[in-house]
C-alpha cells in the first residue's frame, strides 16, 4: 500500500508531485515527503510488521517507495543492546545502544538512507547515481549501486586519505577527486547535481534519501517492546537524523503503534564542528556556519542543511545539545569498546561522550531510559585511536617468560 501523498515545503507548505527535486521553487525551503497516514488505519499493525523479515523494509509503508525495494533489500534491523556495563560506568539505570556500526552492507547507518534513495532513483528511471562524501556515504553509495547494477560517481576532496578512497573504490565506482577549498568543492558538487541527469543522493533525491533515517527510529521502538525511550541521543552532521528519528516517533504515535512517552531528542557534536549545538546553547535558531576542524570527519558539516530543524526538534522536545573535544571523543570510543565490546567510529565517540557530559550536568536524567545511536564502525576511523590503545607486551617464545608475566597480572597456573 502506497500512502505517499506529495513533497511539501517545510517552510511555506507548498506541495509538489513526487519527483526528483528537493527545494521549493517559491521560498527555497527544503522539501519533505508527506503521507496520508489514515490509509493505514486498521492495516499497519504490530502483528503485520512482526510477521515480516527483519530488515528496515518491514516498515516499507512509511518509506517513500512504490512496492518493494530494488536496492538494499537486506539492509537494516541492527541490534539494540542493553548496555549494562556502560550503565554502571555512567551511573544510569536504563541505557541502550542502537548499534548501526554493523549495518549491512557497509557498516554505517548511511546504508539505510542510500537504499531508499537508490530504490527511488530506480523508480524514477535513473541509471547513474552519485554523491559527494569523505567517508561512509561514499562507501554506501558505491556498494549499494554495485549490487543494484547502477553506474555511480563519487566526488571526494582530492587529498582524502587512501583508506577512505579504498572504501568506495573497491566497489568499482568512478571516483573524482576535486582540488580546491571546501566551499569550492561543495559548490561544484551542487552544480554537477543540477547539470547532469543523475540521482545525486543528498541533493535532488534528498527528500527520499533522508526518510531512510526513520527506519532506525522504528527499529528502536519495536526492539524496546513497542515503546519509545524517554531520551534519545544522536550524532549531528546535517541534523537530518535528529529530525527523522523524531518524525518516526510521531508517526508511530499517530498510527497507534506506541503511546506517547514524551521522548526528548538530544544532539551530539564535536566542538570543532558544532554549529547546531552552539545554536541550542545560545538559545537561537539561526545556525552560524563554521569551518570544521575535528577528528569526527563523518560529522564535519559546517553549514548543515537541517540544522535549523534539528534545533527546533531539540527545543520542542525539551532535549539539549552538547559538544566535546577530540580528546573526549577518543576517550568515549575506548569507553564504549571496553564496556560493551562495540568499536564505534569517531561519531560514536561523540555521541557517547556528549551523553556522558549531559548525564554529569543533569541534562540527561540518570533514572530514565536512554538510547544512544551509534551510526558507524570504528574500523573505518582507526587513525583516531591508534595512539590511544594498549600496546602489546613483547616476550620471547618461552613459557618461563609468560609465567612471569601472568604472575605479575595475578594469575597462577592451574594445578
Amino acid at each position: 500500500m502506497n500512502i505517499v501523498r506529495a513533497l511539501k515545503c517545510r517552510e511555506c507548505g507548498q506541495e509538489y508531485d513526487i519527483q526528483p527535486t528537493h527545494v521549493c521553487e517559491f521560498c527555497f525551503g527544503p522539501l519533505e515527503v508527506v503521507y496520508d497516514y489514515e490509509k493505514l488505519d486498521g492495516y499497519f499493525t504490530r502483528e503485520l510488521i512482526e510477521s515480516r523479515p527483519q530488515t528496515m523494509w518491514r516498515y516499507k509503508e512509511l518509506l517513500p517507495i512504490d512496492g518493494e525495494p530494488t536496492v538494499g533489500a537486506q539492509n537494516g534491523f541492527t541490534p539494540l543492546v542493553r548496555a549494562k556495563n556502560l550503565e554502571k560506568a555512567l551511573g544510569v539505570s536504563e541505557l541502550y545502544i542502537k548499534n548501526d556500526s554493523v549495518c549491512y552492507p557497509t557498516l554505517s547507518f548511511k546504508d539505510r538512507v542510500v537504499s531508499v534513495a537508490l530504490s527511488k532513483a530506480v523508480e524514477f528511471g535513473f541509471k547513474t547515481v552519485a554523491c559527494a562524501s569523505t567517508g561512509n556515504l561514499a562507501g554506501s553509495v558505491a556498494a549499494n549501486a554495485a549490487a543494484a547494477g547502477l553506474e555511480s560517481y563519487v566526488f571526494i576532496p582530492h587529498d582524502l586519505e587512501q583508506g577512505k578512497v579504498l572504501g568506495a573504490g573497491i566497489f568499482g565506482t568512478r571516483i573524482i577527486g576535486i582540488k580546491g577549498k571546501y566551499d569550492d568543492v561543495n559548490r561544484l558538487c551542487s552544480e554537477v547535481a543540477g547539470k547532469y541527469g543523475w540521482a545525486f543522493v543528498n541533493v535532488n533525491v534528498r527528500p527520499f534519501y533522508a526518510e531512510g533515517s526513520k527506519s532506525l527510529g522504528y527499529e528502536v521502538m519495536e526492539q524496546l517492546g513497542w515503546k519509545a525511550p524517554k531520551h534519545i541521543v544522536v550524532p549531528m552532521a546535517s541534523g537530518s537524523l535528529c529530525t527523522k528519528i523524531h518524525k518516526s516517533i510521531k508517526e508511530f504515535i499517530q498510527l497507534g503503534l506506541i503511546e506517547d512517552n514524551g521522548t526528548a531528542m538530544y544532539g551530539a557534536q564535536a566542538t570543532g564542528c558544532s554549529p547546531i549545538a552552539k545554536s541550542v546553547k545560545d538559545g537561537t535558531d539561526l545556525i552560524h556556519p563554521v569551518i570544521a576542524d575535528t577528528i569526527a570527519k563523518s560529522l564535519a558539516i559546517g553549514n548543515p542543511a537541517d540544522g535549523y530543524y534539528a534545533n527546533r526538534v531539540i527545543n520542542e522536545t525539551d532535549g539539549w545539545a552538547e559538544d566535546i573535544s577530540d580528546e573526549e571523543v577518543v576517550d568515549a570510543m575506548k569507553l564504549l569498546a571496553e564496556t560493551e565490546g562495540i568499536f564505534a567510529e569517531t561519531a560514536g565517540g561523540v555521541t557517547l561522550g556528549c551523553a556522558k557530559k549531559m548525564i554529569e550536568s543533569g541534562k540527561l536524567p540518570r533514572d530514565e531510559s536512554i538510547v544512544l545511536c551509534i551510526t558507524g564502525n570504528g574500523l573505518k576511523t582507526q587513525e583516531a585511536v591508534v595512539d590511544a590503545i594498549t600496546k602489546p607486551r613483547i616476550i620471547d617464545a618461552s613459557l618461563k617468560d609468560f609465567d612471569a608475566l601472568a604472575e605479575a597480572d595475578g594469575f597462577e597456573a592451574a594445578a
Partner: protein
C-alpha cells in the same frame, strides 16, 4: 544563468546594504526569496540572474565583502 544561493551575513556585514550594492556594481537581477535578520547575523535566500561571467564575479564580490555564499543545498559533502 540564474544562480540560487544562501547568503550568510555576520555581525560585521548584517547592517550593510550589500544586495543593493551588488545590483549597482554588477549587471544582475537580484530576487530575495527568503530572509531572516537578527542582531548578530542574517540569512538570505537569493536568486542572482545575469550573464554567467557576471554572476560569477558578483558572487566573488559578495565573498570579498565577508558574506558566506553557499548553494541552497548548503553543505552537500557528507561524511
Amino acid at each position: 544563468m540564474r544562480l540560487r544561493v544562501y547568503l550568510t551575513f555576520d555581525e560585521s556585514t548584517v547592517r550593510e546594504p550589500l544586495i543593493w550594492k551588488l545590483a549597482k556594481e554588477f549587471d544582475v537581477v537580484t530576487n530575495i526569496r527568503t530572509a531572516e535578520v537578527k542582531d548578530h547575523m542574517g540569512l538570505v535566500g537569493l536568486e542572482i540572474d545575469g550573464e554567467d561571467a557576471v554572476v560569477e564575479s558578483a558572487t566573488e564580490w559578495l565573498a570579498e565583502q565577508g558574506v558566506k555564499v553557499a548553494p541552497i543545498e548548503q553543505d552537500v559533502i557528507e561524511g
